[in-house]
């Protein structure tokens, strides 16, 4: 773990340094990343140009949902988004070159082409989050205040674990990177909207089967003073870090199984 983080830091720092040699180009891509990821928020703005509420949720509430999941997803994309290129590395054989180095392969794959421009998505998510906090009319308690950063951090961990599982899946299905997209990008889109607008089977699936609901729905609805989705009890709002830990156990197992399979089949 320590060795992995150290290697990740080394490789990421190298990429940051190399992008910083083209400052202008970096600034441009950062800006375009910021704008590009903001367009799905523009959609929400456009929607609220036509209506006053979605499923009984106000603009500020939807923006809060958007901000929490957007920031969490942005952080995951920044730190581990590169793992979805794993299938390509398996296909072209460059994974072998990572296996002969004395540091964990996951750290090498994740830090490869580390791109600070992905901060654009994080910044954009944070901006919406802050805006929503200004607009929200919530009776703040210490628990709710603490819950906001905890939500974002747990969401980050959950999304990044999902990315690792998606990458591990590519050990078997090298062209299967899109499946992970359904859970990462798809999950992010889903969680931007209040759970009440979705079919309850879908919501239960997201709560109990692939518990992405813990990225933001469960804790955020508590902050908003609304009922937890899928019939969860109120205290469930505080278990996001535990769910994130479970996600990472699963991700670790999936990754190990993937590497083992690769090393026995060579593909």
């Amino acid at each position: 773990m320590g060795a992995g983080l150290r290697a990740y830091g080394l490789i990421a720092a190298m990429w940051v340094r190399s992008t910083m040699t083209y400052r202008f180009s970096f600034a441009m891509t950062l800006l375009s990343n910021f704008t590009a990821t903001g367009f799905d928020f523009v959609v929400i703005l456009l929607m609220f140009g036509q209506v006053d509420g979605l499923g009984g949720f106000s603009f500020a509430e939807v923006a809060f949902l958007y901000g929490t999941t957007g920031t969490a997803f942005g952080l995951a994309d920044l730190s581990l988004g590169q793992v979805q290129r794993l299938g390509r590395r398996v296909r072209d054989g460059t994974l072998d070159t990572l296996l002969v180095r004395p540091v964990p392969v996951l750290a090498q794959v994740a830090a490869d082409r580390f791109a600070l421009r992905r901060l654009g998505r994080v910044t954009q998510g944070l901006a919406v989050l802050v805006w929503s906090l200004v607009l929200l009319d919530v009776a703040w308690t210490p628990a709710k205040v603490v819950l906001v950063p905890v939500t974002v951090l747990s969401g980050w961990l959950i999304f990044s674990a999902v990315m690792v599982v998606g990458a591990a899946f590519q050990f078997w299905a090298q062209d299967g990177s899109e499946v992970a997209n359904a859970f990462t990008y798809g999950g992010n889109t889903l969680l931007q909207y209040p759970p009440v607008i979705f079919a309850q089977d879908l919501v239960r699936g997201v709560v109990y089967v692939v518990p992405l609901a813990f990225v933001n729905w469960v804790p955020a609805l508590y902050v908003l003073g609304r009922q937890a989705p899928g019939g969860l009890p109120g205290w469930a709002a505080f278990v996001s870090p535990v769910v994130a830990a479970v996600f990472w156990v699963v991700a670790g197992l999936a990754w190990r199984a993937g590497i083992r399979s690769y090393r026995s089949t060579g593909s």
């Binding site: 290697a7 990429w15 072998d96 070159t97 002969v100 082409r113 026995s264 089949t265």
Partner: protein, 342 residues
């Protein structure tokens, strides 16, 4: 983990058998690698069958030796290298490198080995060469002084000074290969695996790479295992050669010994005064006739003298010469015989 001094051989923790003071650095005993391959046999049906890529190979390489490992495409060379580096887990048999089981202790072994894949680079494609080296420096925790010394040496001998600031993707194949070899050596590996290090290189680059490897082996005592298509590499670098085909070791011994195993033939080229029907002589056969010149093949193990004497007595001889068999034809013959058997 042994920290920063990974370049010092840690004899204490080695379990390799010590014999007469030299121990076998690389040991393979009946190593196998079996792949399950699914093949589409019908429109929807798939058939599973097994391919024995490496089929029970045993050999030992003592520290400091430089060994050629050759064979046709798909013979199992790369699979062997991948097992030696820990990329692939063997399906059977026992394998040790520096006393370490590569498949179990891959990252620990990684500090002590260097690997160069001819077909793909281990360098960071979009970064300048120097950045790749910096990363290697930190990743392998090479002591600063040691790193500087190694880098300077590699830069000088491999002629990299002009290339350090160039992103790897802009390097030519020969430049990249030199860059890759340097990257594999900055942490003072005890063994260097080279998988086709001269593939696609021009003559000058090839010579440079070979000179460097020869020096490395002589001065540092680095053990080198080299797979190649180019038999000149082997002829110029290795005293010992191993030939693999269909996953089996077919020959393991000195380069010269290949001729005997391959039952090779030498060629006697005879220039006669005029065009004549093919020469008849015991123990030799005419393989080619071109005007007054004829080519006779005879077993490499036999002396040419009696044959020459007989021809000189029976035919109007102008000139003659003996040609040694080249290693490529020897190996080609070995493969052909092996295929005929199987």
């Amino acid at each position: 983990m042994a920290g920063g001094d990974s370049f010092v051989p840690e004899y204490g923790e080695l379990s390799g058998d010590m014999r007469d003071g030299t121990y076998d650095f690389i040991e393979l005993d009946g190593v196998e690698k079996v792949f399950d391959v699914r093949r589409r046999t019908g429109r929807f049906r798939r058939e599973k069958h097994q391919v024995r890529a490496v089929d029970g190979i045993s050999f030992r390489v003592p520290r400091g030796e430089m060994v050629g490992y050759i064979g046709p495409n798909g013979a199992g060379k790369s699979t062997t290298i991948k097992m030696l580096t820990g990329i692939l887990t063997p399906s059977g048999g026992r394998l040790r490198v520096a006393g370490i089981d590569p498949s179990r202790d891959r990252t620990r072994l990684a500090r002590r080995i260097g690997v160069v894949f001819g077909q793909r680079t281990t360098l960071w494609w979009d970064l300048p060469l120097r950045d790749s080296y910096r990363l290697v420096h930190r990743m392998y925790r090479v002591p600063d002084a040691r790193f500087r010394e190694n880098l300077e040496r590699c830069v000088e001998l491999l002629d990299l000074a002009e290339l350090l600031e160039v992103p790897v993707r802009q390097l030519s194949l020969g430049q990249r290969m030199r860059g890759d070899i340097a990257a594999a050596l900055l942490h003072d590996p005890e063994v260097l695996y080279l998988d086709e290090p001269t593939i696609g290189l021009d003559v000058i680059s090839k010579a440079k790479v070979r000179d460097f490897l020869r020096d490395l082996n002589a001065e540092r005592g680095t053990t080198v295992l080299l797979t190649t298509h180019d038999l000149t590499d082997i002829e110029q670098l290795c005293k010992r050669v191993m030939v693999i085909d269909h996953g089996r070791l077919m020959y393991d011994g000195p380069l010269g010994g290949l001729h005997e195993v391959g039952e090779s033939e030498r060629t006697l080229v005879v220039d006669l005064e005029r065009e004549l029907p093919p020469i008849t002589a015991d123990g030799a056969r005419v393989v080619k006739v071109e005007g007054p010149r004829q080519w006779l093949a005879f077993p490499a193990a036999r002396s040419a003298a009696p044959l020459v004497a007989r021809i000189a007595a029976d035919y109007p001889l102008v000139d003659l010469s003996v040609r040694e068999p080249d290693i490529e034809s020897v190996i080609a013959k070995m493969y052909a015989e092996r295929s005929a058997d199987g």
